[in-house]
Symmetry: C2
Subunit: 310 residues, 2 copies
Amino acid sequence: VTAPVAVGVDVGGTKLLALAVDADGEVVGRQRLTTPRADADALVEALVEAASELASGVPVGVGVAGIVTREGDLRYAPNLQLQDVALGRRLEDELGVRAAVRNDVTVALHGEWQVGAGRGSDDVVMVTLGTGVGGAVVADGRLIEGAHGLGGEIGHIPVRDGGRPCPCGNRGCLEAYASGTAVAALARERLEDGDEHSALRELDEIDGKAVTLAAIDDDPLALEVLRESGYWLGVGLVALVNIFDPEVVLIGGGAATLSAPIVLPEAEGIVAERILGADHRDPPPVRRAALGDDAGAIGAALLARDLAGA
Amino acid sequence: VTAPVAVGVDVGGTKLLALAVDADGEVVGRQRLTTPRADADALVEALVEAASELASGVPVGVGVAGIVTREGDLRYAPNLQLQDVALGRRLEDELGVRAAVRNDVTVALHGEWQVGAGRGSDDVVMVTLGTGVGGAVVADGRLIEGAHGLGGEIGHIPVRDGGRPCPCGNRGCLEAYASGTAVAALARERLEDGDEHSALRELDEIDGKAVTLAAIDDDPLALEVLRESGYWLGVGLVALVNIFDPEVVLIGGGAATLSAPIVLPEAEGIVAERILGADHRDPPPVRRAALGDDAGAIGAALLARDLAGA
């Protein structure tokens, strides 16, 4: 086992995954803890514990779902029931090393870009499909962070004016069509609105995974729902490709693990048809991310290393 | 008059404006020529003539409406009826100086960012309202150009699925609602569809300017049309602010000159209401660009100087 150069932690709503990586981005150590919620002190403590177990004296990177400023302040993290926590500064104080705290998708993209499916491209758009829809962009070799670290909120670009309600309070956001939650809701609505035959009628509870499994099993209603979801993902990607002209679009996140073979071709077709100058150019490929559940922690570690100038 | 450090040329569909600028971006020389169309040789000749009149031995920047690659190749310029012209290389060969050729809005933003309304901000989104809708973005101090120089096509982000037809061949693009052309078309459609009183009924031909003048004169139909246009501009800006988290949004272009006091507050209201985390943050101001018709030529000159490392 080679020496770790950094530790990265992906703080999920229930579990916290910490990885030590070597200079090539290979994982050389792994820790998993339960995520403390609604308690900033306990979160800091858990992060310190996980990082200390894996290595000492190396930079620590952390990815958290929510709004995180460039300075590493957790502005708003609904999954953790936390807001306004100076997480980066507190970790630096406790650990005595450089800490980088960023949005979870930002660090996942950093990982995919450095050692995953975006390797070798300097212009990469990433969208993650999960409970919500996240996003991040590398443009000309640099992460888009925005003036206050609030950039990259791809899940909340409007794709359908006056459309479905989104957890953010608006209507018609990409997230309201492309998240796992949205897929489940779309299926439930169709089941209620019609009497179309579907295996989903037999289930007590319908989540995104159940819809995806039914679609893989050729259930027509489930297939239509996933294609609708892919359509709106495609509409969102048209905006992103017109804005960023990426070499590749990466789709990550748990909800895409099984649904990708149905959702991605649908989205890719819309992109190929509708981007500006579609007749005069090749559309970027829409590809699955490669690092799976490790992407966030690996990316957080590599980002911390890069920012520390190591 | 101080010495020019670069020459910039804004190639419009009918006129070509060439400016020499000094080290502070002040205009120290000015030339105006008719734009040759559908003739690449004549265009190169006109650019060489305009540049040579103003200065010699300094970098030359050029802004052209259309798709321009990073290498300065004019991929597709519908206004000039040209495609696939290696304009940058040809200018360098003829003039013996460094040449930078870019999209017209890209250079206009470079000008506004360096010496105009975006000065001092490293994160600026610019949208220009004219015959079409153009756009450009500076993120973290760098112009978004994309992997092939095709980025920044803000006019063609979808704002209304299945909406109005756009000159690009798709439907529901921002351009189909926010351009001067779109404003005129929206007014004509309303006049045809109803019998609402409007001063516009007296006119033989309705263009965007006529609608704006009527709106300024409190014509209710014209006001509604401009507010609708501002609404969709706002929807497009919600996407851009969520993606880029800019410090300021600049609106330029001829069609905004008069309509800004009606269109901008409408768009700004939508942004303030709908960006992610609207309750927890200040929306960026939506402001008029400052350099007017000179923005493109000034920006082209400064970009050429910057790229030449002067």
